[in-house]
């Protein structure tokens, strides 16, 4: 009886949240999978169970293959780019610098702005127009003598999605910077001091003392950026509108669900997106909870 008293109140307190999550998260995920396994391909049909038919059929769809390729390229560039840039900015700021608060604000600021409107600016900046009609970054490069940097940006059919990652890096690297900065400063001073006393150069202090401490931060950032990337939608629609050249799974899902009114196909794409996120996230969650228990 005493033992119940120890944990029962906690469970009761948590119950409303648990019910809300059960309904709004798992209920709706279940709804989605049920739809994905039905043949409800228009607004009228009731839809009957067809198993995994939609899941296999999707891979015969040229547009889907393209969207997946785009998403992979985007993810690689975005995640690496934001990690490296955020890490580098944090490194620059680690030892304190005049106006640190100002710099932090500038780097974090893109996170505060909605892409609904900045999309137009990015569309202008990343325009591939030739020099005589120069626009945006190409024009800027041209005018400062860096004309060779001018390129097609996201309108290149093979590597364009790498350019699409630039605005995403712009948006998220400040946040990664904040995470890393907190990480850097979480390394106890004594450890750094001890290494210095042992005759380590400043670089070696970083290399052997500070960086190993950052692994959990890196992992957390990786997961955060990874799942944003797999779901990326607003940014792509704001910059490129819904064009095949910049198609990604989330946009394709939207098109199938709301433009073509094919609920089953839209749900199938959503299911794949969920699975991709799950593959990324579940091992991480399990690992975190376990390693915490060990500690």
């Amino acid at each position: 009886m005493r033992r119940y008293r120890r944990w029962l109140p906690g469970l009761v307190l948590l119950a409303p949240s648990m019910i809300a999550i059960a309904v709004f998260v798992y209920g709706l995920i279940g709804w989605n999978f049920k739809l994905a396994m039905s043949d409800q391909h228009d607004q009228v049909t009731a839809g009957k169970f067809v198993g995994l038919e939609n899941f296999t059929a999707l891979w015969d769809d040229e547009r889907w293959g393209l969207a997946v390729r785009h998403a992979v390229l985007f993810t690689v560039v975005f995640v690496l780019g934001a990690l490296v840039l955020g890490w580098f900015l944090a490194l620059l700021m680690d030892k304190g610098i005049r106006g640190e608060g100002g710099f932090r604000a500038v780097y974090l600021f893109p996170m505060a702005v909605s892409f609904i409107a900045t999309g137009i600016v990015w569309r202008w900046l990343m325009s591939p127009a030739p020099p005589e009609r120069g626009v945006g970054l190409n024009q800027l490069f041209d005018s400062v003598g860096l004309g060779f940097l001018a390129n097609e940006w996201w309108q290149n059919r093979s590597y364009g999605m790498a350019a699409m990652a630039l605005p995403a890096i712009w948006q998220m690297s400040g946040y990664v910077m904040a995470l890393y900065l907190a990480g850097f400063r979480g390394v106890p001073d004594e450890l750094r001091e001890a290494a210095r006393v042992d005759g380590c150069t400043e670089w070696k202090v970083y290399r052997y003392v500070v960086f190993p401490h950052l692994r959990p931060v890196t992992l957390a950032a990786l997961i955060i950026l990874g799942h944003i990337s797999l779901k990326i939608f607003d940014l792509v629609v704001a910059i490129a509108t819904k064009q095949i050249i910049a198609d990604v799974p989330a946009v394709y899902m939207w098109v199938m669900t709301f433009d073509a009114h094919d609920p089953a196909k839209g749900a199938t794409i959503a299911a794949y997106m969920l699975l991709a996120v799950a593959v990324l996230v579940i091992p991480y969650l399990v690992w975190t909870v376990r390693s915490e228990r060990r500690a």
Binding site: D42, A240, T241
Partner: protein, 426 residues
């Protein structure tokens, strides 16, 4: 601006204070658009520019005639784009329709019709004598299985070729090309003789828009109209020829097309940066806003090979089943259908009325030309703007064109278009 700052600071302070007060539940404001009997909620994607002004003018007229009914403007931007239709779809699915919503007249509404979400307006048409007010061909093209489901408030023209007289002169061209062959030759001349863009194009949807004009210009009106019927022949040599033309013409567009809005694509012409642009006649309204002079800064003609054919599209309003304020919605539809309403809306929006009895003195420059053409031309429905294809078909065509922009593979495009016609379920 100062109010913005004070408000925001007040917000933050209120926020901090409320932590201790344990925050209100946010239940300040009840749901709207549900109970009151004296409302009409009208859903559209007209949120800016001339279209919003036109809507406002009609709303003002509505308020004057129906002072007891509150007009709730539920406009969400992005009709042909993203959000508006998605929001609408979710509301209809949840059986929470607005009292009336905007849709392109024609096959675009088929999804709603088949799902039983719209009321037929036949008796409304009879009462308001609309069958006589609208052109016969229009009535035919918006009738589905004997029923009409929407009230067209305007007519836009899709097949318009906009050109820069200055650039044409520089290239040594005497006037607008009449046929597709002449058009291709003209594009070639512009490319060789000037540094200007031969044909200014925008993002992917403007290529879809171009495709319908090229199809119409190559096939002619009867074959074009037949494409959207049950026994359409998408695999024939004429379609192949049209698609070859499409490919050739695309070769004369600028490389930055995908990151160009339709406005910038059209502006290239009036700024003398491009020779041609094929865009719907909403471009005329935009040029007017820019302060450009018709016949000097820009000129127009039917898109090549389509002289005498009016490829039309129409914004229309509907009556959803279970509209919460049905009677008020009918009053709104009366305004939309009336001569006054249409004459208030269209000059502002930059389109012509669907009615035959409009006051011609209100329509100047391009619109005068359009009115005149509307009364004499044969009609063809616009594919891209919702007249001839349902949503699924529309999406598949868009996908096929998008993939084609990358591959430039004509046989593959033709196959995809044929498959789209077959799978449409229309």
């Amino acid at each position: 601006m100062r109010r913005g700052w004070t408000a925001a600071v007040a917000v933050s302070l209120a926020g901090l204070l409320a932590v201790t007060a344990c925050g209100g539940g946010g239940g300040e404001q009840g749901g709207d658009g549900k109970q009151a009997a004296t409302k009409v909620e009208v859903f559209s994607w007209w949120t800016g520019g001339g279209e919003a002004k036109g809507l406002e003018a009609m709303v003002a007229d509505f308020k004057k005639k129906q002072p007891g009914i509150e007009f709730v403007n539920a406009a969400v931007a992005g009709g042909s784009g993203t959000q508006a239709k998605a929001v609408l779809a979710s509301r209809l699915q949840a059986n929470q329709p607005p009292d009336s919503f905007q849709g392109h007249a024609g096959a675009e509404l088929l999804g709603y019709i088949k799902a039983g979400q719209l009321e037929p307006l036949n008796s409304f048409y009879d009462e308001q004598k609309l069958r006589e007010a609208f052109p016969q061909q229009l009535i035919e093209q918006i009738t589905y299985q004997g029923n009409i489901y929407s009230v067209p408030v305007n007519i836009h023209r899709s097949n318009v070729l906009w050109y820069s007289p200055a650039v044409l002169k520089e290239a040594g061209l005497s006037g607008a090309p009449k046929t597709i062959e002449e058009f291709i030759a003209a594009l070639k001349t512009v490319k060789e003789k000037t540094k200007k863009i031969p044909l200014s194009l925008g993002a992917q949807w403007t290529a879809d828009h171009l495709l319908e004009s090229v199809l119409l210009g190559t096939l002619g009106v009867d074959a074009y109209n037949a494409l959207w019927t049950a026994n359409a022949d998408w695999s024939g040599p004429q379609v192949t020829k049209a698609l070859e033309n499409f490919k050739t013409i695309l070769g004369y567009t600028q490389q930055e097309a995908a990151s160009t809005d339709w406005q910038v694509a059209a502006k290239n012409v009036v700024d003398g940066k491009a020779a041609f642009n094929i865009m719907g006649d909403w471009a005329a309204g935009y040029f007017k806003e820019l302060g450009k002079q018709p016949k000097q800064d820009y000129d127009w003609a039917a898109s090549p090979g389509t002289d005498g054919v009016y490829m039309w599209l129409s914004d229309s309003f509907t009556l959803p089943k279970n509209a919460p304020h049905r009677a008020a919605a009918v009053e709104w539809l009366k305004i939309c259908a009336s001569k006054e309403g249409q004459d208030l809306f269209n000059p502002a929006k930059g389109s012509i009325p669907a009615r035959k009895d409009a006051d011609r003195s209100l329509y100047k420059d391009y619109l005068a030309w359009a009115l005149e053409q509307w009364s004499t031309n044969k009609l063809a429905g616009s594919m891209w703007h919702g007249v001839t294809v349902n949503d699924r078909w529309h999406t598949e065509i868009d996908t096929a064109v998008g993939l084609f922009l990358g591959s430039r593979d004509v046989p593959k495009l033709q196959q995809a278009l044929a498959a789209a016609a077959k799978n449409s379920g229309q």
